[in-house]
């Protein structure tokens, strides 16, 4: 700057001030900052509010061992006691079955889209269908399974039917995230593998998928967290039971969302209200644990893209 000034033949005394901001720009800057911070605060208010309400109203039941180890058998809405064991197990079992069905299909589908079908008409069709599936509301998925499972095949309402409808909701989430992760794997890795004479399937199995593993697991966890709070399939496809039922193929089954729904109708009674809040907090904690696990996995195994 000084060099330029020295070269000027005549210095007219005017200084181009680059140090501070002009009034209007300073104002715009401040305004934008304030707006952004405000937007952030507005977005945080409901979140913190919900968290605070649920935690403050629900935590005390969670502190007792009974909550984690007992069912609600014989506990009417007027009585205190019992736990959410039946519902926690129901939620976990249904989520586990969902994952067992949905994850392999989703990962293989993503491998097809990225590695084999790139640009083909079939891949475009699959991709389009997945987009549609992403937008299917949970109640539609539930009614579809109801139509197939109960109306056509004449089976009873069971936990497995819920898992089937949750598969429809989880599949697109996991498939899309896996697809993105596989796309992030640098082509150089694949080419290096091919150059060494490794066949394509082995490259995918030993190079591409392991490289993207962290991201895939994150997607799976997020997909699980998404379906664990779904309520519509539970309402339509399985009856709520206060008793422990660990068999997803027979009988009614408890789950945290339906446990909340069951006692929600009795909020006038303090014992029932306590259980509703505690069940809500338990569900939030389960989903939170899954999300944290996903974050941890992601941190320890991110793809280093250049």
């Amino acid at each position: 700057m000084t060099a330029v000034a020295e070269n000027k033949p005549a210095y007219d005394g005017k200084v181009l001030d680059l140090t501070g901001k002009s009034g209007a720009r300073a104002f715009k800057n401040t305004l934008a900052t304030v707006l952004i911070v405000l937007a952030f605060a507005v977005a945080m208010i409901p979140l913190l509010w919900i968290l605070f309400t649920v935690v403050s109203k629900g935590y005390h039941l969670l502190l007792s061992a009974d909550w984690w180890s007992q069912s609600q058998r014989g506990i009417t809405v007027r009585r205190a006691g019992g736990g959410a064991y039946h519902a926690i197990m129901g939620t976990l079992i249904m989520a586990l079955i969902t994952a067992v069905i949905a994850v392999p299909i989703a990962i293989l589908g993503a491998v097809y889209l990225v590695e084999y079908g790139k640009g083909t008409r079939a891949a475009k069709a699959v991709s389009f269908m997945i987009d549609i599936l992403t937008g299917v509301p949970s109640i539609v998925a539930a009614l579809f399974v109801y139509a197939v499972w109960i109306t056509v095949f004449g089976f009873n309402r069971v936990g497995f039917a819920v898992s089937l409808s949750l598969v429809l909701l989880m599949l697109p989430v996991v498939l899309r995230s896996t697809e993105e992760m596989l796309k992030l794997v640098p082509d150089e890795l694949r080419e290096a593998s091919y150059a060494l004479g490794v066949p394509k399937w082995k490259t995918i199995l030993k190079v591409v998928v392991p490289t993207a593993f962290g991201g895939i697991i994150t997607g799976v966890m997020l997909g699980l967290a998404r379906v664990m709070g779904e309520t519509a399939p539970l309402l339509i496809l399985v009856g709520y039971s206060k008793n422990i039922n660990l068999n997803p193929f027979d009988g009614f089954m408890g789950a945290l969302p339906t446990m909340i729904n069951q006692d929600r109708t009795e909020l006038a009674l303090p014992n029932a209200a306590d259980r509703v809040w505690a069940a809500a907090l338990t569900l939030i904690l389960l989903v939170l644990a899954l999300n944290l696990l996903a974050r941890l996995v992601a941190r320890f195994s991110t793809i280093k893209s250049k």
């Binding site: 009974d66 007992q70 392991p210 962290g214 009614f252 109708t265 909020l267 006038a268 996995v297």
Partner: protein
């Protein structure tokens, strides 16, 4: 990579350990109180089968059946009874679709429902077993009004929407000395198909003096805004000033709502109590004199002094024949406990009225006839 792998194995191990730890220690809570079964238990259903019984239906009897299930489990610990209070309409549908073993309903089966139920019971009749009597309260939330009296025609006009404000002359006439606000009346009704709605509209039709123009039905045809389930309408009235609804008595009590007295034409307005509901019940007769079907015929327009006219009888609907043997044993065992003295005695605390002894005997006989 090795760190990754280690972490991968580690996280899976931790997750599965967590699940295992949780699954290792689950149990049912110990029955509360002195759980030793009463030695004087009625002879009916003396033995306890094993298994799971699934039922669904009326939310009006939810509190009653939950209490009875709890008591029943003190006696028969190996039976699991699930009851989903999704509404009478849903209960009958699920029963007819072979999804549950018996249904709870606030009204007896209609002819077309009976046809479907017969099909479901492998071409055997399904039976309506009156089990619980629940008074329906006209519950309101009006500031400063602790005592409200209504009669049939006024109630019908309010729920029809022809009376729109609280200080309407028709209401004022029945409530001399009560300051009624000029605010509009917000009516809440059950948005789901409900036996409570059907019983209440039967009352409005019978006692409304022509002011109720619709036919009695599970679906509401009057005015107002809909809320789901008994708890929904109770909550709606609780949170809305100048609101009114019809709801099972226990929900009105639990939500601390005002309950209207009914002027039946007997001269003095009748307050809702177990006693006044029982009086109306004494007038109830089985609809079918032959005694085969136990559906009750209630006299909603009763003018008997001290009788509260709006009551509903909730039924259990079960197959007379055609269920698998082990389910039959379970249904018989549970329902005969429900109708027994012990079973019925636990209901009064929950703002239900027990069945009269004569009807108890008949219902028990019908249950014993299930095979």
């Amino acid at each position: 990579m090795s760190v990754n792998r280690l972490f991968r194995v580690g996280s899976v191990a931790v997750a599965s350990l967590g699940v295992l730890a949780l699954s290792a220690c689950g149990s049912d809570p110990e029955p509360t109180g002195s759980s030793s079964p009463d030695s004087s238990t009625s002879s009916a259903g003396a033995e306890c089968p094993q298994g799971t019984l699934n039922a669904e239906g009326s939310s009006a009897q939810k509190n009653a059946i939950e209490e009875v299930i709890s008591k029943y489990n003190e006696k028969c610990a190996d039976v699991t009874v699930n009851y989903n209070p999704t509404g009478s309409g849903a209960g009958i549908k699920q029963f007819n679709a072979n999804q549950v073993d018996f249904a709870g309903s606030d009204s007896a089966l209609k002819p077309d429902e009976q046809t479907a139920a017969t099909k479901r019971c492998a071409n055997n009749a399904a039976v309506n077993l009156p089990m619980v009597i629940g008074p329906v309260a006209i519950a309101y939330n009006v500031d400063g009004v602790t005592k409200l009296t209504l009669d049939g025609p006024t109630a019908a006009k309010i729920f029809q929407g022809t009376i729109k404000t609280w200080n309407d002359p028709a209401i004022a006439k029945l409530n001399a000395g009560v300051t009624l606000p000029s605010a509009p009346i917000s009516v809440f009704f059950r948005s789901d198909e409900s036996g409570t709605t059907e019983n209440f509209t039967k009352y409005l039709k019978a006692a409304g003096g022509g002011a109720w123009t619709g036919e009695p039905a599970k679906k509401w045809t009057g005015t107002g805004s809909g809320k789901e389930k008994s708890a929904g309408v109770a909550e709606g009235v609780k949170s809305t000033k100048n609101a009114i609804t019809y709801v099972e008595w226990s929900y009105a009590v639990d939500n601390k709502l005002g309950v209207a007295q009914i002027e039946t034409g007997s001269g003095t307005p009748v307050e809702l109590s177990a006693e006044s509901a029982g009086k109306a019940l004494a007038a109830a007769k089985p609809a079918d004199a032959s005694g085969k079907d136990l559906a009750m015929k209630l006299d909603y327009a009763t003018k008997a002094p001290g009788a509260y006219p709006i009551i509903l009888v909730t039924y259990e609907i079960a197959c007379t024949k055609g269920l698998p043997a082990e389910k039959t044993a379970l249904v018989k065992s549970f329902l005969s406990y429900f109708v027994s003295k012990d079973g019925q005695a636990s209901l009064t605390d929950l703002n239900y009225a027990p069945l009269p002894a004569e009807i108890q005997t008949k219902v028990d006989a019908a249950i014993q006839a299930i095979s």
